[in-house]
Symmetry: D2
Subunit: 127 residues, 4 copies
Amino acid sequence: MKHLGAELAEIRAGHAEIHVPFRKEVTQQHNYFHAGVSGAIADSACGYAAYTLMPADSSVLTVEYKMNLLAPADGEKLVARARVLRSGKTLKICAADVYVQKNGAEIHCATMLATIMCLSGKSDRAG
Amino acid sequence: MKHLGAELAEIRAGHAEIHVPFRKEVTQQHNYFHAGVSGAIADSACGYAAYTLMPADSSVLTVEYKMNLLAPADGEKLVARARVLRSGKTLKICAADVYVQKNGAEIHCATMLATIMCLSGKSDRAG
Amino acid sequence: MKHLGAELAEIRAGHAEIHVPFRKEVTQQHNYFHAGVSGAIADSACGYAAYTLMPADSSVLTVEYKMNLLAPADGEKLVARARVLRSGKTLKICAADVYVQKNGAEIHCATMLATIMCLSGKSDRAG
Amino acid sequence: MKHLGAELAEIRAGHAEIHVPFRKEVTQQHNYFHAGVSGAIADSACGYAAYTLMPADSSVLTVEYKMNLLAPADGEKLVARARVLRSGKTLKICAADVYVQKNGAEIHCATMLATIMCLSGKSDRAG
């Protein structure tokens, strides 16, 4: 995340928002944000949103995600907003939407569904 | 759809809603609606929503879908609501949510993302 | 499953195979097997494959699945073959492929990835 | 891809393989390869595999992908192998598996299904 210049812009119970300002390093050949960046911040935002609903000593594990790309991410800032759709004890089902901001407007670039696992007092994948 | 007792309750540009009233035949061992029914009506609702944005001689082909199950579908009526997130010429990216109605309340049971293809003047899968 | 005329043709550690013979009731307008039938038996085969690797008192819960449709299911018998890719204590990640048999050949119709949860000594969704 | 130190190790009709040697920059807190790297090279390998079956003036667009994470990517080299499951004129349905190599063995870390679109003689997303 640090590598991408991403910042956690908002976090509250069941929600998280991550921003990435435009930088040449996170774009592809057309100067749009790279789709991999949309995927990475959507997944991270889901993890943070899920984590707000877990006990303090938990760690977060992404089980799976699916993303549809909707439009080119042509703009000044990339924004991922995630929310928990279902908060089970072990699994949190999350959705995230990615928008690009340009000239004061937002375009919907991508949408993700993700399954996040809560590992209680563990620090490694144990699925 | 007919087989499931499903009815198209609403259709307008980019949206569709399908209902299935409770019947013993569409439930599983706990008398909840079967998850397969949620999947079938969510997929159908996505297809109808996509079709509203296609030329008249088109046919609809489901390319893929992904569904997360969120809660048991315990209730009197199952409702799938679909909307088109992105309407390209060839592909429509759709989302659907499935709710179960019980005693006047709605519970969110499942959520789907689907990619629907528009086949112009063709009647078979040609991907 | 019974409703679809489906039979569990094979089951062994980490694998399951389900067959559906051609019947008018499970086809769509072109006399192909309905895509919903492919989805239902792929999901069921994943559940059975996962169950072979769970303790005896467990129950099986489908967390999510994603399916790509590859070709029309035009043939005499529909066959879903599932295998467990990763067997964690709580989650089993499974893949299934659906084939249609026609005149002695098999065509690959659909492919699924699914996340199946093991509920120990419970009988309901508790995610 | 360049940024990740990724190299296209093999490409032939309907197949592609991408390698990423271990470098501190592509790992997370436990010194495993970051899951985002697995996702990025799996998606890229699907795009390359699809591209081998497209006309020369085409460009490649990822419509959607779904990935299940199977095991921590703890090793010396990360390898993504993609293959085209179904090659339609407009859409190529692809699967990719990601392995980590350690002490001469391979561990299966992740699996992806992706839908790739062929844009004929166009250079932008037009879905």
